[in-house]
């Protein structure tokens, strides 16, 4: 079967082959789900939001311009959907939606996470979920999805400098926790 790129699929859907949209769903569902799962911290909410994102994407296909990649555009939809869900749920809104300059402290989650994990990788994996939404998202997009910092700044609609600030601060806060437990000695 011929491999269709995103633009070819979109053209096909626009021509009336609605079922071809499933190719885009298959292509992006896992990455978007991972992002939503980390942001919303709940599997059911993430699945519901994911469906909403694909609905929005389908409805917006007519307005989609070829000057940007579908993935960037879709990640933006996913990011904004998650943000609006978080704000509507008022889930610690003030804390979660901190601005880039705000300090944060994830140390309060440390005892619980530390006691339930066996190695630094597991510990970091769980601690990422405790970071403020924007900080966690930068890490997910950078490490999990392998997106460039430029690309992340487009998705999150913030400057490249701010993306770097978020990335460095997030890593530093995780690093400080590893130092606290002397995990760095395991490298030796």
């Amino acid at each position: 079967m011929k491999y269709l790129n995103d633009f070819e699929i979109i053209e096909s859907v626009k021509r009336g082959n609605q079922s071809d949209f499933s190719l885009l769903v298959d292509r992006y569902k896992d990455r978007a789900f991972s992002m939503l799962r980390r942001m919303l911290k709940n599997e059911l909410d993430a699945e519901e939001a994911l469906q909403d994102c694909f609905m929005k994407a389908y409805n917006g296909l007519k307005e989609f311009r070829k000057d940007s990649q579908f993935s960037t555009w879709f990640y933006k939809i996913t990011f904004n959907t998650a943000l609006s869900i978080i704000s509507s749920q008022k889930r610690k809104h003030e804390q979660e939606m901190t601005s880039i300059d705000d300090e944060f402290d994830i140390g309060k989650f440390d005892p619980e996470i530390y006691s339930s994990t066996e190695n630094p990788a597991q510990y970091i994996n769980k601690m990422v979920d405790k970071l403020p939404v924007r900080n966690a998202l930068v890490l997910i997009l950078f490490y999990l999805d392998g997106l460039s910092l430029n690309y992340i700044s487009q998705v999150m609609n913030i400057s490249l400098v701010n993306v770097k600030v978020l990335l460095h601060r997030s890593r530093n806060s995780l690093r400080d926790l590893l130092l606290k437990h002397n995990y760095q000695e395991e490298l030796l």
Partner: protein, 174 residues
Amino acid sequence: MNRIDDLLNKYIDNEISQSELEEMQFLLKDESNVKKLKALQLVNTSLKKLESYSAPETFTLKAMAALSNKFSKAKSKTNHYAEYLLSVLGLIIAATVLFILFSADWSSTDNSTSQQITKALDVVKNNVPGILSFFKNKSVMTLGLSLSMIFLIIAYYSVEAHKSFKKRISKLTS
């Protein structure tokens, strides 16, 4: 963020310049900074192994089913609208035909088709001036104009409301 933190992050991301590298090497003479570097390297390798979540296996089917439901609803809405317009048109035609049937004098013995058509046309000819004079009445005209004005204003605000709703939707999706 202090200088060593900045340099270590740049080093991890391979964005460090030669002069910065030398500066970092100098700062690494301090044992606490070496620990920081090791910990940051560990964070970096751990984040590379970050666990990803997969969407439920049946998700694509569910999403496509939800989309096709939406299409069928949209289609059925359009059909209802067309049906509504056709029924109104049909009612007007039926009312006109009934009016002609009840108003014409069918008692004549000559029942040929051409004669019947002439009778029907006569009914129309006789009643059109009456209908026209009804609409020429000043109060009827005033009422008609006022209703048209109200209808146009309502239509304008409905279109504007729809536009702003669409804008809000597109803002959410952008």
